[in-house]
């Protein structure tokens, strides 16, 4: 990690004038403040990142809203403030995506899906998306495990000289009856230790107008109806606290998280049914800690621990339907120990061992123990060629059960990443990677009443990626920087876990049946211009082309058809204009035509949708107070669209924010 060391020194020098004295490690983590140097050819495959002011300006309420601006990503959005939002990357399915919160994976052993609509951006400083894995070998074994990873990093405290307390209070309101106050408190206990505490309350009735309109082929209006979305209310409280310590050549951090919510599940809008009676209570709590230390100049070690307890209570109150009242309890205990050793100045090796225990109770009481063991190496030749290789062994010990004896699993998955910068003077970097990964059958897949299949095998995904990146910072008066990246990829998913009909009357079982062939191109570009009169304009464009076809069986009517909800074309455009302490943001999202079921026939056709969002914000200094106001208009042109069939999305809606920092 030659680069990191050198950059560390640079940062350290710069940091002297800055804030508080830090260890080398911590200053490395704070690289993002010195953008130009830090970005330069550090990661083999750079992440797509949204952070800081840019993230604040994007019309996004939850993490899921922000992720829409990444290329290669598809969101399933069931609409509204409380609607579930899940993400999948490069068409491989949500369960192949790892979501990491301050470096430790968020788990859901029951169904493997993380609802990113539940994570508000209030306390998030940075969101990064990695294809394959993070280009770093000093990480926990689990971090080598996903096909794609999202890293959420919470706000890190920064104290101005002479200040030991930061307080920020904010209040959001707007459409859907939103009432969303939050408070952030940061306190510097000593030069080496600080603490943060953040509370947020989200309350919304979730009501919004939506519209369905149809015309006959001759152009006559068939029907045009506008109704109000019901049972989409949410009442949620999130509390987070952390204690951060900086050591001579290390750091530690303890983080506590608690989220409690009650919400309605609005459900599908079908003929004669406009409201439903499903309610959901979530209680997610975890405590996690990390301790990292450079033991010798060549040897570093990191320990992560986590304990999480989740309770989900689901009821269906609809008196026309089966009455359901279920409580699911999940527990997770996690330990990880990662080590890195520098063999040479340009050659690092690492090893990590992770252990996790998962338990679930309700429809079934089950548990599982998983061990991960990873070995990785990173090698640099003449600062131009970088190679990383890793291998991960995963051992799953399923609980011994009388009725359905689930076999244990052992899987090896390799990954190789390479990048090459042919010219030292020009920032053109070629990159390529191969990765094999898998997802475990979830507890639902294995055990769910009637449907579960104890003999399921893991579902594999293989990824091949090749791309090029071009960066320039001409530092001309008006043209600040330009960035362009393009990647082409081929993914192959096999033994995909799918529901298969069994017997009669909507009875299913889970089988390793599916096979998917995915080919795509991701394109990202960004340019920053400094215009006259203190105007700064940043433009960003993302485009994704994907062909993800089902190649399971020649006999299927959907053989070689695009899989459901994957558009061929999708993309986004962002324009940000800043003038002194005013800023304006325009963003556009486009999701092209797609099909809502396996067969690509007209009865399953879903129209493209595209929305324009605008926001304005202003910052003011008032004595020692920093005030910020912003107003957002989302779906400016009030398009009536469904992301998921029969889950209508809101028409034009508004959001306002006031925040005060002391």
């Amino acid at each position: 990690m030659f680069y990191v060391k050198h950059l560390g020194i640079v940062v350290l020098l710069l940091a002297v004038t800055n804030v508080f004295s830090q260890s080398r490690l911590d200053s490395v983590q704070r690289l993002n403040e010195i953008v130009v140097i830090a970005k330069r050819y550090k990661e083999i495959i750079p992440a797509q990142t949204l952070k800081g002011a840019e993230l604040e300006q994007l019309n996004s309420f939850s993490v899921a809203d922000a992720i829409r601006f990444f290329s290669g990503v598809q969101i399933k959005d069931y609409g509204g403030v409380g609607g579930i939002k899940t993400v999948n990357i490069r068409s491989m399915g949500t369960n192949h995506m790892g979501v990491f919160y301050n470096g430790i994976q968020l788990g859901n052993a029951q169904n493997g899906q993380i609802d990113l609509g539940k994570f508000s951006l209030e306390n998030v400083e940075e969101i990064s998306l990695y294809n394959g894995q993070k280009s770093e070998i000093f990480q926990s074994a689990k971090e080598f495990g996903s096909a794609g990873s999202i890293y959420l990093t919470t706000k890190r405290p920064r104290f101005e000289k002479g200040k030991d307390t930061n307080v920020k209070a904010s209040m959001r309101t707007g459409s859907f009856g939103l009432f969303n106050p939050s408070v952030l408190y940061e306190y510097k206990i000593s030069e080496k230790i600080n603490t943060t505490f953040n509370v947020e309350w989200i309350n919304a009735n979730g009501k919004y107008k939506f519209r369905y309109r149809r015309v006959t082929p001759s152009g006559e209006l068939a029907y045009d109806t506008t109704a109000t979305r019901q049972n989409g209310d949410i009442d949620a409280v999130r509390m987070e606290g952390s204690l951060n310590g900086y050591l001579e050549s290390g750091m530690w951090k303890v983080h506590v998280y608690h989220y409690a919510s009650e919400r309605g599940i609005p459900g599908a809008i079908v003929n004669n049914v406009w409201r439903r009676g499903e309610r959901l209570w979530d209680n997610n709590s975890f405590v996690q800690g990390v301790y990292q230390q450079d033991l010798t100049p060549n040897f570093s070690s990191k320990v992560n621990v986590k304990y999480a307890a989740d309770v989900t209570h689901y009821i269906n109150n609809d008196d026309k339907l089966i009455h359901v009242d279920n409580i699911y309890k999940q527990k997770e205990a996690y330990f990880s120990w990662a080590n890195k050793y520098a063999l040479r100045r340009n050659w690092d090796v690492s090893m990590a061992y992770d252990f996790q225990w998962n338990g679930l109770s309700e429809f079934v009481d089950v548990s599982r123990v998983t061990h991960w063991l990873s070995a990785a190496t990173a090698f640099t030749v003449a600062d131009q060629l970088k190679i990383q290789a890793s291998i991960l062994e995963t051992l799953v010990n399923e609980e011994d059960r009388q009725r359905d004896d689930v076999p244990n699993k052992q899987v090896f998955t390799p990954a190789v990443f390479m990048s090459y910068q042919p010219f030292k003077k020009h920032e053109i970097v070629f990159r390529t990677f191969y990765k094999k990964s898998f997802r475990m059958p979830t507890f639902n897949d294995l055990y769910y009443t009637d449907m579960g299949n104890a003999f399921l095998r893991p579902e594999y995904a293989e990824q091949y990626n090749i791309g090029v990146l071009y960066d320039t910072n001409p530092q001309k008066q008006w043209f600040e920087s330009f960035h362009f990246g393009v990647d082409a990829y081929y993914n192959y998913v096999k033994d995909k876990i799918v529901a298969y009909p069994k017997g009669q009357q909507f009875r299913w079982t889970m089988l390793n049946l599916g096979e998917v062939d995915i080919r795509g191109v991701d394109l990202t570009t960004m340019a920053t211009f400094l215009l006259p009169k203190d105007l700064k304009l940043t433009g960003k464009l993302q485009y994704t082309y994907q062909e993800a076809i089902d190649i399971t069986n020649h006999a299927d009517t959907y053989y070689r058809h695009q899989i459901p909800y994957i558009p061929w074309h999708s993309g986004s455009a962002i324009a940000m204009l800043a003038w002194r302490n005013w800023s304006m943001n325009y963003s556009f999202i486009y999701v092209g035509e797609r099909y809502n079921q396996q067969e690509n026939i007209r009865y399953n056709y879903t129209q493209p949708w595209y929305t324009s969002d605008v926001s304005f914000s202003k910052q003011m200094k008032l004595n020692s107070l920093l005030l910020k106001f912003s107003a957002e208009i989302n779906n400016l042109l009030s398009q009536d669209y469904d992301v998921i069939l029969n889950y209508p999305m809101p028409k034009r809606n508004y959001r306002f924010l006031v925040s005060i920092e002391i």
Partner: protein, 384 residues
């Protein structure tokens, strides 16, 4: 240069694929390999596709025997003004008089149409409705939930009575748990109670309802998780049970009068034959059964005929040309009373288009046609 390239690309993409007006779900016509015969009776057959839950894709197709057409998805085009079309999960389709009735389970309604044109005449709201039968100007509809019960976990089902002229609910009677098929014989309605919401405490009874008073007079114990219930021409009832999908298999039961002077029905036979669906034509009871084999991870399917008079299994292969291999999940069964043609629908994986297969009376396949999602219920349209 790159900028311009991207610019062009974006513009091209947008022009290529903008949103258009959402059109009414169109009807498709497909020619069937049959002879055109303008005198055929029945004139045609309606097929109700259930559609997966939440998809709102229940749809009606029509096999036009006279013009040799398969008319796919006719409801929306014939009723373009109905908001969100036919609805969610069709569960039964029948014709009575000049009206066509479609029971739409998850839209909680019975859709009433003109039997010749498919144009809507009205709808009757029945919560969680399942099956429909008729008698003397009245329709009787089984429904999984009756009046709101005090104990939410013990939701008894009901049979609703609908006046077929005014299309109003004129009465209802509470029966067992989650009633499925029903049949009318004499002055009584017989309802097969499943108890499907009460796993593993399934219901195991047939409710006997006195039709004029709409009063449950008896519950006949039969077997757990009852489903189909049909009468034969000898006054017997044939009832199928689903079993518990584990240790208790699906079975076929026969009920007959206790004695000649009694109206009381009792179980006289339990046939050691699993039955998923049946259709009685004359003396023949056609049936199929689908049972999941855990070891081979495959469905074991059989297609058989029972003689209702002798209660003997005539054959366990009414499809004789080997083409039953093309069926993934049989989901509907109907026999043409005129020429003995057999119609079997295939629901495939429930989330893609199913198929309607037609076999002649000797079990040789005549034609197959793509239907909607989960084609399941069929009814003939006769000349008069």
């Amino acid at each position: 240069m790159m900028n311009r390239f991207i610019y062009i690309l974006v513009i091209a993409t947008l022009l290529y694929s903008c949103r258009k007006d959402e059109l009414v779900v169109p009807t498709e016509y497909e020619i069937l390999p049959m002879e055109i015969n303008s005198d055929t009776d029945p004139v045609g057959m309606y097929v109700l596709n259930e559609g997966n839950m939440g998809s709102n894709k229940a749809s009606i197709d029509f096999v036009d025997f006279r013009n040799a057409y398969y008319v796919r998805n006719l409801y929306a085009e014939r009723n373009p003004n109905i908001i969100k079309e036919l609805g969610d999960v069709g569960n039964d389709i029948q014709i009575y008089g000049s009206k066509l009735y479609a029971v739409i389970n998850c839209s909680h309604k019975v859709e009433v149409m003109d039997a010749r044109t498919g144009e809507r005449l009205g709808q009757v709201d029945v919560p969680n409705c399942r099956y429909i039968r008729f008698h003397r100007g009245k329709a009787y509809v089984s429904a999984y939930v009756g009046p709101v019960a005090i104990d939410p976990d013990a939701q008894l089902g009901a049979v609703y009575r609908i006046d077929t002229t005014s299309l109003q609910v004129t009465g209802k009677v509470t029966v067992g748990y989650q009633p499925d098929e029903l049949e009318i014989m004499g002055e009584y309605i017989y309802v097969a109670n499943s108890g499907g919401y009460r796993v593993p405490n399934y219901d195991y009874t047939i409710s006997v309802v006195e039709m004029y008073a709409m009063k449950q007079v008896q519950k006949i114990p039969v077997g757990i998780n009852l489903h189909r219930l049909r009468k034969d021409k000898y006054g017997k009832l044939w009832v199928s049970s689903r079993g518990d999908y584990k240790t208790i298999p699906s079975r076929l039961f026969v009920l007959a009068r206790k004695n000649q002077n009694s109206n009381e029905m009792v179980v006289t036979d339990t046939l050691d034959i699993p039955c998923s669906n049946m259709c009685i034509q004359g003396d023949s009871l056609y049936f199929y059964s689908t049972e999941w084999n855990e070891q081979s991870e495959e469905n074991a399917i059989s297609y058989g005929i029972i003689n209702v008079k002798t209660k003997e299994l005539i054959t366990s292969h009414f499809i004789t040309d080997g083409t039953e291999k093309d069926i993934t999940i049989p989901y509907g069964l109907k026999i043409n009373p005129e020429n003995g043609d057999i119609y079997v629908t295939d629901a495939k994986n429930y989330v893609s288009s199913g198929v309607v297969h037609c076999y002649n009376r000797n079990g040789k396949r005549k034609w197959s046609v793509r239907a909607g999602d989960i084609p399941a219920h069929m009814v003939f349209l006769f000349k008069n």
